[in-house]
Amino acid sequence: MSETGDIADLYSMTLRDLARDPAHKGRPEAFDATARGDNPMCGDRVDIYVTLDGDRIREARHVARGCEICQASASLLAELVPGRTQAEAHALGQRAGEIAKSGAGNDTTDELHRLSIFAVVHKFPSRVKCVTLAWNALDAALSGVKETSSE
């Protein structure tokens, strides 16, 4: 694999579109739970806001100060979690982390297929945290914690 290829693989069109996608960004006026994820080493910060529908997530939005991977991950999260329970969302986050860490991304379901844009991250070990930060914040929000960290 050429190294330019590498970089282009990481910053795929899909990822960059997700990173910029305004659809899931911004602090909503009302929400049921929120938490902040901080990566003290690099300064990345993600605020996740969730509205609930019984025990299911109705909507998720984020305000992210972070790199493109971090932003893309937060957007994908906001896209994927509506309709899921806390446990299901947590499992999805775990899966996102595994994919980023190991590169294993040959899942067949649709959502998991979406997550596979992070498979290439395993070739950039210091960037795995950029994928998981938003998911950690979601976990924290859903369990009532106010802050979390990806360190």
Binding site: D38, P40, C42, P125, S126, R127, E147, S149, E151
Partner: protein, 415 residues
């Protein structure tokens, strides 16, 4: 006696792994009997450190570039290797410090001042290395209401377990801090039993494994230790790195000790929040190269097998117990049933310092003094110190024979 004690353990071949063992001292082959103070380094350790500096060095944790990723990976791999070596449940339970002394001081500060309550006591023993005594004295003397008790040591050089039980009985002991193996008497303490007694009395327990971890397989989970410390340089690894194991729950509840980079979560001028363990306890640039060396040392002893090392050293201890008491005028300190390869002794009419110099001129390295265990020497009435021979995995029975012969010669010389 043949140098190959066990078919599993070819000491002649093992000695070739240690470059220093083929050097000469005062024209004599080196007979290194001071591994208890610090062990020699196998080529695998030296080469791992060299390789890290030549091919994969950068500061860890904070770099999004190849060398930093590689260094971080090696550093964290050393943590995992240490976790496995000690039988800990999670890598996060392993904190790298600069040596055993620093590790015990960490606990004395973070747990002692941060978690223990006024009116509680720390229980240590007369048998400790100063590293496991002075920090507790400093805690006692900090005037925050924490007391200090000592477990007595029997004539045989074992912990007096009845005294231990008695001193735990009132439930006021918050932390038991005892050695897992004495660096003077060689006594191995019954760690699992001590932990059970401590826990029944509502106390946590720390073991100073500086000696024990070198000589036997240690499993902190099986022992049920709350804290366990050791130091790489005695385990054939480099100086500059030690290990603090702490149960996750305990580490999570402890305030940090040293402040600086890498241990924070966020810093403003007014307020700082701290990272989770182990980062919270690893302020500043950690011993990166040394962690690689420790990892190589762990791999080295694990490949030989801690069981095989223990068997080899047991055979050496048996041999020493057969040979040393035959030296006229020699008195061994202690005589525990369960003991490792450390022998402190007095030789009638010969001062330890003079003896050590005499032996040195025959290539034999032993230590003279009180071995950082002054109260223990006072306990045994040898305030002036003793001479100590201690074994490593490269020690041979012939070296013990040579020691015995030269002891006899020394006695004649100084008569």
């Amino acid at each position: 006696m043949d140098t190959i004690i066990s078919p599993l353990f070819d000491v002649t071949r093992i000695r070739q792994d240690f470059p220093i063992l083929s050097t000469k001292v005062h024209g004599k082959p080196l007979t290194f009997l001071d591994s208890g103070a610090s062990a020699q380094k196998p080529r695998a350790v030296i080469e791992a450190m060299t390789r890290s500096m030549e091919t994969a060095y950068a500061n860890v944790h904070r770099g999004a570039y190849h060398l930093s990723e590689a260094a971080t990976e090696s550093y964290e791999a050393a943590r995992i290797a240490t976790q496995r070596f000690l039988g800990a449940t999670e890598p996060e339970e392993i904190v790298f410090t600069s040596n055993s002394t620093a590790a015990i001081n960490f606990v004395a500060h973070s747990y002692g001042r941060g978690v223990l309550q006024p009116g509680q006591f720390v229980l240590t023993s007369e048998m400790e290395h100063h590293a496991n005594m002075v920090p507790w004295q400093m805690l006692r003397d900090a005037n925050i209401g924490i007391g200090l008790r000592y477990v007595r040591v029997t004539e045989r050089g074992e912990l007096d377990l009845e005294d231990l039980a008695a001193k735990l009985a009132d439930g006021k002991v918050g932390l038991v801090a005892l050695t897992h193996m004495s660096n003077v008497l060689g006594t191995v303490t019954p760690a699992a039993q001590i932990a059970r007694m401590a826990h029944e009395a509502g106390a946590k327990v720390l073991f100073d494994g500086s000696q024990a971890a070198v000589h036997r397989h240690v499993d902190v989970t099986a022992i049920d230790a709350d804290f366990y410390v050791f130091t790489a340089h005695k385990l054939y690894g480099p100086t500059g790195i030690g290990v603090l194991y702490g149960k996750r729950k305990l580490l999570d509840a402890m305030p940090p000790f040293l402040g600086g980079g890498d241990m924070i979560e966020s810093v403003t001028l007014e307020r700082t929040t701290y990272a989770a363990a182990p980062a919270r306890f690893e302020a500043g640039t950690p011993p990166i190269i040394e962690a690689v060396g420790l990892h190589a040392a762990i791999d080295y002893v694990t490949n030989i097998g801690m069981g095989a090392i223990e068997a080899h050293e047991r055979a050496l201890v048996d041999h020493a117990m057969a040979v040393l008491p035959g030296v006229e005028g020699l008195t061994l300190l202690g005589g525990a049933q369960d003991r490792g390869g450390v022998f402190a002794f007095a030789l009638d009419g010969v001062h330890p310092h003079d003896l050590s110099t005499f032996l040195d001129r025959h290539g034999i390295a032993v230590r003279a003094g009180r071995h950082c265990a002054e109260p223990l020497h006072t306990r045994f009435g040898v305030e002036g110190g003793t001479t100590r021979a201690s074994f490593g995995l490269y020690t041979t029975p012939e070296e013990i024979d040579l020691l015995a012969a030269k002891l006899t010669e020394a006695r004649r010389f100084f008569a």
